[in-house]
């Protein structure tokens, strides 16, 4: 397929999932609050969080599942909200960075300077929160393994490792 027809195909997909038909997501819990949403078919969770609900702490850096910036918890597990269709989440419990603002990891990131531009950071916190929930004292190896899906172009990795390794020491 050449580039031009690839573009056509992408556009057609977007047309089909255009913005006119909406469908309800009657029972979605976000940060402990229940929502009854009526949103266009084909909308991702990230889009709904950011555009419909104003929860812009969740960032989108690639929009296609490659970077981890948009990570949220669904039922306590990290998920990429940019490639999760919101209509698949009826009945689910979602936690975003807005629900983790008082997590001790926030303080650990602050203390260790594990943030530069900050665009990847909310996603890093969300992923790290899932890690420490499952494994409160992860080894350096385990941290690297669990966090390798969260890219950071600024290169805050050493500080992130330090923050997670010492998250409950202060």
């Amino acid at each position: 397929m050449d580039a031009a027809s690839a573009t056509t195909e992408l556009a057609l997909i977007r047309c089909t999932y255009g913005d006119t038909r909406t469908r309800s997501v009657p029972d979605l819990k976000i940060n402990g609050q229940s929502y009854d949403l009526d949103v266009p078919v084909g909308h991702s969770l990230a889009q709904v969080l950011r555009e419909e609900l104003g929860l812009t702490g969740t960032k989108v850096a690639c929009g296609e599942g490659h970077c981890g910036a948009c990570t949220v918890l669904v039922g306590g597990l990290p998920m990429l909200s940019c490639i999760t269709l919101v209509h698949t989440l009826d009945g689910a419990e979602v936690t975003t960075i807005e629900g983790l603002r008082d997590h001790p990891l926030v303080d650990a990131f602050l203390r260790t300077d594990a943030v530069q531009c900050g665009f990847c950071t909310p996603g890093q916190i969300v992923s790290a929160s899932a890690l420490v929930a499952a494994n409160p004292s992860p080894s350096r190896e385990e941290i690297r393994h669990a966090m390798s899906g969260n890219l950071c172009r600024c290169g805050t990795y050493p500080k992130i490792e330090e923050a997670i390794a010492t998250w409950n020491e202060h």
């Binding site: 006119t20 531009c117 990795y157």
Partner: protein, 750 residues
């Protein structure tokens, strides 16, 4: 009183005379060493907002009635758009505006690269705008792309440099080495893509943009739209990385501004990640044909280089020869840097443009020379230490001290090599760096101290994620003698503060810091004048310390809040301006890296195990954020060296690496141990701080240090980036053949 002075301004090593208004006599520098607040570890002042997802980036802005834009981009590397159907697109669902070629700056009917912007559609939703691009029904005349930088059109003004006589220098040499190095094109991939939202408020155009240069955007937009500059307000409170790619407005800004004008609605134009990796700039590929000559004791007699920068369809010719011209004391140097115009996306500045690439070539060449001379690479560098560049002395240079501090890391090489194990060979390599980073005028700052004893630094600069707010808060707090948490930094809005410099060229701290200190000093002077009158003391015995007004004889201590409290709701206002750089001097940064690597000689896998980064950037303001800058630079350097490469289809010129699975950024698992050591010696000739910039230096020597460590481990000369397994195995084979040939010669002569 405003003073008008004439001073020198340096841009990429070229000097020009400029007029400058400064406000006061210069302040004395603080004595060397950490102060109460400056030089101490401080948490990043805007970290809570960024970490908790409260910071509002351009990407997060939503205005009532805002339209979204999609841009039609060329699917071909070289083509002309024959026709588009504007009417059909305008009739599509949700569409409110269409721009064709020529209707906004940047939209052109001849596309010189894959991804070149041609037309744009604004609609109620982004999906509708994207769908409407199809309705434009663009028809293309596909043209032949030029893709070979060695055979393409060259810019007719190559950069040439010459001192001494290269041929004579080579004739004098006992040993000559020659090599060709190649570096690839890499993509910035700032996490927030390039984007702007434009809206009209009355006759003022508001531009919300992810940028490194608020004032540059204001000027470019005002001149393009023929508006008085004050009718353009540019806002950037938080931005998600730039690395050099966000210094200018580009098509997305002009498209949003034009569509906002036509529709009367706020308009967003944001690149997707794929568009970002097509059309938002790149570090250009280079070809470097280099030669070096030296006497048998290691004294350099000649350095020469022919460089070809593949700048793309447009883009400028960076100083890839800079390190060769500046790093060593060599009497005979000749360089020429060609810009090759090819049908690839235009380059943009990327963290030390030219110097990253040129240092790879030069510093590898130096090690190849050291090997041939059988000299210690560190000794070779010391031997050719430069004390001036082009007859201009340095305002300060502590590279020798960096070398001294490098010794402990360099010494580890015996132990590191001895840990080679089976196919894994280990070694240590080093490389030096030289770069600008002195900043310069003009730059201005104000400070407001309220009756609550809190201060606000006001200046229309931008914090691109480097810790700018923190450094400015520390400087102001230090000068005002108050804790750092009593200082706010208000920036990011051209309507809310004075002119501030670009956040590029490692210039933020050295350009803005002195203006902030001057403003704080001005406020402090006024506060002490007030105290002297109110408490009947001579002003010269008064000072501000730990939030109090104190007298040097020790018998007065009044809280600052009591003094400024006299003003009620009024405030003390301080003004500061950045003074000139020292005339007739080179203001530069220096450093060296020592890398430890392991190479699997069977598979060609390379692992970087440790990097020591030692830099001389003058006084360090924020050591914690400085360490983050160093780590960030080193990690980007590792990506550049080992994994990152923009790949093109060799026939069509299509960019194949548009997504973050195809384009391989370093992950947390790729990070070695990083050791940082900053000399922290104020530059006595530079401003009231003696600080230089640190954004770019740490990426510069990474590739060469790694390549030199690979040579130490395996004897193989890596000459092309990235060092893929293929390149590593090629270099190993070549080294093996060289060794065999040598054995044969030895056997033949015995």
């Amino acid at each position: 009183m405003a003073r008008l002075i004439k001073t020198e301004k340096e841009v990429e090593g070229r000097y020009e005379d400029v007029w400058l208004v400064v406000e006061e006599d210069p302040l004395e520098q603080w004595p060397a060493g950490a102060r109460t607040i400056v030089g101490q570890e401080t948490v990043r002042v805007d970290a809570p907002q960024r970490i908790r997802g409260e910071a509002r980036y351009t990407a997060d802005l939503q205005f009532p009635g805002m339209l979204h834009t999609a841009v039609l981009r060329s699917p071909h590397a070289h083509a002309r758009v024959k026709s588009i159907d504007r009417e059909r697109a305008l009739a599509a669902a949700g569409v409110r505006g269409v721009l064709g070629p020529g209707e906004a700056k940047g939209l052109e009917d001849v596309a010189g690269y894959h991804g070149a912007p041609v037309a744009a559609v604004a609609a109620e939703t982004f999906a509708q705008a994207q769908a409407a691009l199809e309705q434009l029904g663009a028809e293309w005349e596909v043209l032949e792309p030029a893709l070979d930088p060695d055979r393409s059109e060259r810019h007719d003004d190559p950069n040439r440099y010459e001192r001494g006589d290269l041929e004579a220098g080579l004739a004098e040499a006992d040993v000559v080495v020659e090599a060709e190095y190649r570096t690839q094109s890499v993509l910035h991939n700032s996490f927030e893509t390039h984007q702007a939202v434009c809206r009209w408020e009355g006759d003022v155009l508001e531009v919300y943009i992810s940028t490194q240069y608020i004032w540059g955007i204001r000027d470019s937009v005002a001149s393009e739209l023929d508006l008085p500059p004050d009718k353009v307000r540019v806002v950037c409170e938080y931005m998600g990385g730039g690395f050099g790619s966000k210094n200018s407005p580009d098509e997305y800004t002009f498209v949003a501004a034009e569509l906002a004008k036509r529709t009367g609605r706020p308009v967003r134009c944001a690149l997707t990640r794929r568009e970002e990796n097509l059309a938002a700039g790149n570090r250009n590929a280079t070809i470097q044909r280099l030669v070096a000559g030296a006497r048998s004791d290691g004294t350099l007699t000649a350095l020469g280089g022919e460089f070809v920068n593949s700048v793309g369809w447009s883009g400028w010719n960076a100083s890839t020869d800079g390190p060769m011209r500046m790093l060593y004391d060599c009497p005979n140097v000749r360089t020429v840097v060609h810009g090759a115009k090819i049908n690839t996306p235009p380059m943009k500045a990327f963290r030390a443009p030219g110097f990253v690439e040129g240092t790879f070539g030069l510093e590898c060449l130096l090690d190849e020379l050291a090997a041939k001379l059988d000299l210690d690479p560190l000794e070779l560098r010391r031997k050719n230490y430069a004390h001036a560049t082009n007859d201009r002395p340095y305002s300060s240079k502590n590279l020798m001290e960096c070398y001294r501090r490098a010794e402990t890391h360099w010494e580890r090489r015996h132990e590191v090599r001895s840990r080679s194990d089976g196919p894994w060979k280990r070694g240590v390599g080093l490389a030096s760096q030289i770069w600008y980073g002195g900043g310069g005028p003009p730059s201005y700052a104000w400070i407001r101290v309220g009756s609550d004893g809190r201060a606000t630094v006001i200046t229309a600069m931008q914090d691109i994620g480097t810790g700018t707010r923190t450094a400015m808060a520390q400087i102001a707090a230090e000068e005002l003698g108050i804790p750092v948490d009593r200082v706010e930094v208000s920036l990011g809005d051209s309507a809310r503060g004075p002119f501030a410099s670009i956040s590029a060229g490692s210039s933020t701290v050295p350009s803005m810091g002195p203006a902030v200190r001057q403003a704080a000093h001005d406020a402090k002077r006024q506060i002490l004048e007030i105290a002297s009158q109110r408490y009947d003391r001579e002003e010269r015995v008064l000072d501000l310390k730990d939030g109090d007004v104190v007298s040097t004889d020790g018998n007065l201590l009044i809280p600052l809040t009591e003094v400024v409290g006299l003003l009620d709701d009024a405030q003390v206002l301080g003004k500061g301006a950045r003074g000139p750089n020292p005339t007739g001097m080179n203001v530069l940064t220096f450093g060296c890296h020592v890398a430890e690597v392991a190479v699997d000689v069977e598979t060609g896998e390379v692992q970087v195990e440790r990097i020591a980064a030692i830099h001389d950037v003058g006084r360090v303001i924020s050591p914690l954020q400085a360490s983050s800058q160093v780590e960030g630079g080193v990690i980007q350097g590792i990506g550049h060296t080992l994994s990152e490469e923009r790949l093109l289809d060799p026939h069509s010129g299509a960019v194949l690496t548009q997504t973050l699975d195809a384009y391989r950024l370093p992950t947390i698992a790729d990070v070695p141990e990083i050791v940082m050591d900053l000399v922290d010696e104020p530059d006595e000739h530079l401003t009231n701080l003696g600080s230089k910039g640190l954004g770019e230096p740490p990426i510069i020597p990474v590739a060469a240090a790694i390549a030199n460590a690979i040579r130490d481990a395996t004897g193989a000369d890596v000459r092309s980036l990235p060092i893929t397994r293929e390149e590593m195995l090629r270099a190993l084979r070549e080294a093996e053949e060289r060794a065999k040939a040598k054995d044969k010669v030895a056997a033949g002569s015995s």
